[in-house]
């Protein structure tokens, strides 16, 4: 035999990476119709499906100061009837087209999305257009959805992760609309049907909309279909109200949400950071990836793989349209809440003071560039990336240049980003858990304010100057 026997050496060391195959970014066709509707199309023929999302650049933030959650309720009721299709017809039509539908609203946008079999592309688009233009807001459907919302809100108030996020957003954003992630039952009770209709007519307009379609279609035919169902739609672009500035934090504070009897503590800390449009964005993403943004990150190795405090610790940098924020979270057993915070801050301070090693830098750059290419290899992933680019109005070249921008970053960039955006000294700490188990641990990190699960202030700790 001329083939050499397998040697032990091929077993003992990992093979080097072979040469990289170039990533070919999907071709996009971008058009703006005369009515202002921006259209982005990307063909992806691997599966006979299409996914379409119609976005409007208004969400809960524009109504947060008068009717929190109104945009979300509007989106919910949009799918329950149009002038020509009652609710049941919409659902049966969807099934017939092999399609799923979602209508939702976040802080900055509202969306009607549908995906289904490519053979029904034209009808799927027509349904999206019908919902966007002719929603009828049936009174009985609205009241039914309102009642359901009450029950969902009650469940949210028993969910530790929700309570932690809600409190941190209130603390970080103050009077800014981003402070509110969910309405109260009283606020939902006060919605009127006319308010939903008003939001819909003012904000669901082509001049402030973006339509992205990805999937198995030919671009020319798809454009024709889009012009057919959206072309004669006209409405003026709405004004966006000014928002109050968020507060400046000085010093760490602890915000303890008391849930009696809980077997675990939800730890969440954070500070205001940046949006995707900030020149620091890429280096902060890289710093986050080394700190706690990946499985192989310092925080995960420390408090999961070395200490066993938690199952899924992570850090993240979240960008909303006007402002962004940095967060670190972990659900930990009650007796290590303070130890967890100590390690979170230790790792933050280490990122802020010492350069990362060349190996860590190289590894994190490869991680981000590789995962980015995985993210555009499915229709849904591509749709998500395109929505980031076009909804946030990032440069057209975002996809093509992301990887080179990450690859150009240095250890100095990482330290600089950590110093500016991992604000260890002024981080706001939220703990959701049982006061009796974690109250003393909480007080080690700053003045403590205690809340109940309904969001009411229950007590001020000894160090709190507002008490």
């Amino acid at each position: 035999m001329t083939t050499p026997a397998p040697s032990i050496s091929h077993r003992s060391t990992p093979p080097a990476l072979s040469p990289e195959r170039p990533v070919e970014w999907p071709k996009r066709t971008v058009r703006t119709l005369p009515n202002g509707l921006q259209v982005v199309l990307a063909e992806s023929r691997t599966f006979p499906k299409i996914s379409a999302q119609l976005y409007f650049r208004s969400g809960n933030a524009v109504v947060a100061l008068r009717a929190p959650g109104l945009a979300e309720m509007t989106a919910t009721v949009v799918r329950t009837g149009t002038t020509s299709r009652p609710s049941r017809q919409i659902e049966e039509d969807l099934r017939r087209m092999g399609a799923g539908l979602g209508t939702s609203s976040g802080a900055d946008s509202s969306a009607i999305s549908a995906s289904g079999l490519a053979e029904f592309s034209a009808e799927i688009l027509a349904l999206i257009a019908d919902l966007a233009r002719n929603a009828s807001f049936p009174e009985n459907e609205f009241e039914r959805e309102r009642r359901q919302r009450f029950e969902e809100l009650k469940i949210e108030r028993t969910t530790p992760g929700f309570l932690a996020n809600e409190r941190l957003r209130k603390v970080l954003f103050g009077l800014h609309p981003y402070a509110i992630i969910s309405p109260t039952e009283e606020q939902v009770a006060s919605y009127r049907r006319e308010q939903l209709e008003e939001f819909y007519h003012q904000r669901y307009v082509p001049s402030d909309a973006l339509l992205i379609v990805v999937g198995d279609f030919s671009t020319g035919a798809m454009l024709e279909q889009i012009e057919k169902v959206f072309g004669d739609w006209k409405a003026p672009k709405p004004a966006t109200p000014e928002s109050p500035a968020p507060p400046r934090q000085s010093g760490r504070r602890v915000h303890l949400v008391h849930m009696p009897g809980t077997v675990q503590t939800q730890v969440l800390l954070g500070n205001l950071a940046i949006t995707r449009r900030d020149p620091d964005w890429y280096r902060t993403v890289l710093a986050n990836s080394i700190y706690g943004g990946a499985f192989h990150s310092r925080l995960v190795i420390n408090i999961r793989e070395q200490k066993g405090y938690t199952y899924s610790p992570r850090s993240g940098i979240s960008a909303l349209r006007q402002l962004g924020f940095f967060t670190v979270h972990a659900a930990v057993r009650n007796d290590v809440a303070a130890a967890t915070l100590t390690e979170m801050f230790y790792e933050m301070d280490r990122m802020r003071s010492l350069p990362v090693t060349p190996e860590e830098l190289d590894s994190a750059r490869s991680y981000l560039t590789g995962v980015f290419s995985l993210g555009v290899a499915t229709q849904d992933g591509l749709l998500g990336q395109l929505s980031t680019v076009y909804l946030d109005q990032l440069p057209e070249s975002y996809l093509e240049t992301y990887r080179e921008k990450i690859r150009a970053l240095t250890a100095d960039d990482v330290v600089a980003a950590a110093r500016r955006h991992f604000d260890s000294a002024n981080a706001q700490i939220v703990l959701v858990g049982d006061r009796a188990q974690i109250g003393e641990q909480a007080a080690l990190f700053g003045p403590v304010t205690e809340y109940d699960a309904q969001g009411n202030v229950a007590a001020f700790g000894p160090g709190d100057t507002r008490a």
Partner: protein, 438 residues
Amino acid sequence: MNPAPRKLHIPVEHTTLANGLRVVASPDRSAPVVTVGVYYQIGFRLEPHGRSGFAHLFEHMMFQGSENAGKMEHIRLVNSSGGLLNGTTNYDITNYFEAVPSNALERVLWLEADRMRALKVDDENLRNQRDVVKEEVRVNVMNQPYGGFPWLDLPPVAFRNWPNAHNFYGDFADLDAATLADVQSFFRTYYAPNNAVLLMLGDFDPAEAFSLAKRYFEDIPAGALPPRADVTEPPQTEERRGVVDEKLGPLPAIAIGYTLPPRETPDWYAAAILERVLHGGRAGRVFRKLVLEEQIAVDADGSADVFDTNGPTQMVTRIFHKPEFTSEGTVAVYDEIIEELQQKGIAPEELDPVKVKFRSDYYSMLEGGMGSYMPRFGLMHYLACFTLFDGDPNRVNTILDGFLAVTPEQVQSVAKKYLVPRNRAVLVRRPVNLGGAQ
């Protein structure tokens, strides 16, 4: 006019190595990424008696180090190649998978071969992962409203044979009792190449990929597999009921499970379609009746693990109902839905769209299936199940035909035969704090 549907054909090539390892490849060069998985035919159904939760704890141990890649090395090597990795424990399989840029294919195969060949872990690793798993159980089950509902609650009510009926995440006492000797013995028993399938999907030349698989895996010795445990259930003679306290959530929740016909029988295809008649969001009969028309429930839907189980399994309806209704009364209205289907059957005008949606959902599952971040995760998963359970990965291209051929008569017949009290279990999560009174 809609264009004719395009028939999807997934390229599938497969072989079996000398040591019994099955290898399946599905090339697709549209993007420079590959997804790799190793599926072992062992899940929590077959974990040792008195060791509840062990199969899942063991899955964590597979990330703790192998002969040539120590603790954190698996994770570091995949992440630093630009990839993602994870593992999951299921009823009948445990899987390990990576999605990476295609230039890391060989490296990933090396890693998977290294841990198939020899796990290298110590007591410290075991203590560490036992702590991690306990926090996983707390965050997903004990400290979450409706945590573990109904996947952990229902099997003990529905089934009598321990493999099907125990706590799959594990009692903490059992997790504490697990030893390093248990870990090594479990590894030797079940993690042999002849109890596994290797899957490679995406951007590669199949001949090269098979050659790499052979290079890294073929000299791993085969193991002597134990005879397959008996997971059959004794005949059920009456409806089974159970109640569990819901400590956090304010609404009563009901799970209704009907045991499915055996895999790949004509009734199994019909039951899977029947399940989609009842469930599948707002168009499903259960949601329409309980949420939209009667307005008893806040949410009502259901599902069945049709493709990826190889033993007794149920189609399950999940209902969250308003606190002013009783759970008994809610089940009575649910029963009207079942009776109507049994007595009046289903019109083709309702069944045909259900089948269209089934086809569409099948494609969606193949393309993604695990969020959008792991390309072709679902295709990998189905290829693995069809290989291990049915002996034929090419079922991925033909199995849909069986579902699309189901007739209205079959749906009605299966409803009469299987949606009966002596084939079902009803589990109620009863809130300690009903209605969320403050």
